[in-house]
């Protein structure tokens, strides 16, 4: 039994909230949260430190609303999907008829890594549709760039407004369409320089050794090890599912290692590639899903002169 605006809806009821003042945010969020608690629904907040504190202070003591730490939830899109799906499955198994969540991406997500968060916002329309979830994604229009707000409109089926309305988003685009569009991230400045290593058709073992060779010790060893896993998987997928020549290029900066793996093919056909594990391991989808959780940024580039390129960043994405 679902309540509120999502009553009668099947699956995921996904809304965006655009606000330009704390009052506007609270005007949407407080009734949403208190309504969930009143209906006995598991109700969560995954906001940043400032807005989370604002909401916490505005809620009555012992409200029953649960707070997730927004920063760690939204570290990597695929990990966020994995942990949210687990949370939702657990609550449904415990008998929840609906789960409510208000979340907010950290401002850093609107920068160099926005492309994969845009893919996240689109993909979750599918990824959470197995569950009776009503969620709101809050965007502060004072700090959110216009091009990000355009993508928010295309990835959220509807908006929740401070006036209590739930309005359809006119530009909402189905994930299977949206996720097949070219959405390349800006080039990392390192890519304007000659790569430290460039290999054509390397074995996965050679690719792993190449990452070790460019490691200057500026990143934590675990980050380098995870990048090695990611590069190994990406090269393996390119050799197995792409078209030769497969090219690995590696750069190292003061705070990061950047790898690109290109092949002459079209890239994965699965629009959710990387964000969800592929149903059958034969398509290489599990490797890409692991890759997405082993790097601080992964971006897809289709249709360029190089064919399909996956760019992987360990350290700080630029």
């Amino acid at each position: 039994m679902r309540t509120g605006a999502a009553a009668g809806h099947h699956g995921y009821f996904h809304e965006a909230v655009r606000y330009d003042s704390d009052e506007q945010l609270l005007a949407v969020v407080l009734p949403f949260l208190l309504g969930g608690v009143e209906a006995g629904e598991p109700t969560f907040v995954a906001l940043g430190e400032r807005t989370g504190g604002l909401v916490r202070a505005a809620l009555p003591t012992g409200s029953g609303v649960e707070f997730l730490t927004g920063g760690s939830v939204y570290a990597r899109p695929t990990a966020a999907i994995r942990s949210y799906r687990q949370l939702l499955a657990d609550r449904v198994a415990a008998g929840a008829g609906q789960i409510r969540i208000i979340g907010e991406l950290p401002e850093v997500a609107f920068g160099a890594t926005w492309d994969w968060w845009a893919r996240y916002e689109s993909a979750i329309n599918h990824a959470y549709d197995d569950f009776p979830l009503w969620s709101m994604c809050a965007y502060d229009t004072r700090i959110t760039p216009p091009h990000v707000l355009d993508e928010v409109a295309r990835t959220h089926p509807r908006y929740a407004t401070p006036g209590g309305e739930h309005l359809p988003s006119p530009t909402y685009t189905e994930p299977v369409v949206y996720l097949r569009e070219e959405r390349a991230a800006p080039a990392d400045p390192l890519q304007a320089t000659a790569p430290l290593i460039e290999l054509t058709d390397p074995t996965a073992a050679q690719a792993r050794a190449a990452v070790q060779a460019v490691d200057r010790g500026v990143l934590p060893p675990d980050d380098v090890d995870d990048l090695i896993v990611a590069v190994s998987e990406t090269v393996t997928n390119a050799l197995r599912h792409g078209r030769t020549p497969v090219r690995l290029r590696l750069w190292a900066g003061p705070d990061r290692i950047v790898a690109t793996v290109s092949d002459a093919g079209d890239g994965p056909k699965d629009p959710f590639a990387g964000l969800l594990p592929a149903g059958d391991g034969a398509t290489g989808g599990l490797g890409l899903w692991i890759t997405y959780q082993s790097c601080n940024h992964v971006s897809l580039h289709r249709g360029g002169p190089a064919g399909f390129t996956l760019r992987l960043t360990a350290g700080n994405p630029h």
């Binding site: 190449a210 896993v229 490797g287 692991i290």
Partner: protein
Amino acid sequence: MTGRVALNCPHGAAGVISGMTPSTTYGHVCWVYDDPAALDQAARTFLTAGLAAGERLWYVTAGPVEPVVARLTTTPALGDALARGAAEVVSLPDTYPSGAVVDGPAQVRAYAAATEAALAAGYRGLRVVAEATPLVRTPAQLDAFTRYEHLVDRYMRARPFRAMCAYDRREIDGRAVAELACLHPETNAVEAPFQLFAWDGTGHRAGLTGELDETGEELFVTALERADLRPVDGRLVLEAPGLRFVDHRALLRLREYACRRNSAVLLRSPLPAAARLAALLDLPGLTVEVAR
């Protein structure tokens, strides 16, 4: 490759012997050669080490005995050992049952008896160089012999028996080389990306070293089947202090293998990334522990 950089690609660094002196841990070496002269030198080095350790020496040759005796005699200490009976060159048909397909348990029993006889004669063990190429020419021979290699590997963990198994790369293909080499704790063969071996004499724990990725996935499945590992208390344990890389495919295959034996599996390695991978897969019955 277009790039020319000095890659640190330590293929088989833990278990692949790069020089001519096998630094054996317990002495089960797969030696693959293209040049008989290289085998001769490696064999003399291996046997000389046994001499120093007070072991009885055998050289099992696939060809005539006399030329081998002549070659070994060029190393004076080995010549002395041959003269006083501490070393012996025997022909393959006398040591391995003819008819080609090896009976693994029977062969282990034969070497066990020879080892005990050596001990009874006052030696500190038995050390053998065996030219085994004629025993692995057909798929059936290869399958039986690789299974035997792991069985005898277990025996070597328990008793003072050491062996260098020599295979002629000119006569068997690269896949066969890989299938043989990956079931030895030590090898000079670059064809084996990983090695699976006995960790104790009971077969209750196995050792694993090298790199496991998609290129070795099928080989890994084959090696596991042939090793026929035995769960203890519902769990298989693989000790992998020398493991340098393992991907999700290998972890999944390992788990499937354990499941077919109604068992869970524990892989203990120094790789935190492997433990993170296992955490991502989040599969019951698969545990990866980090042990430095």
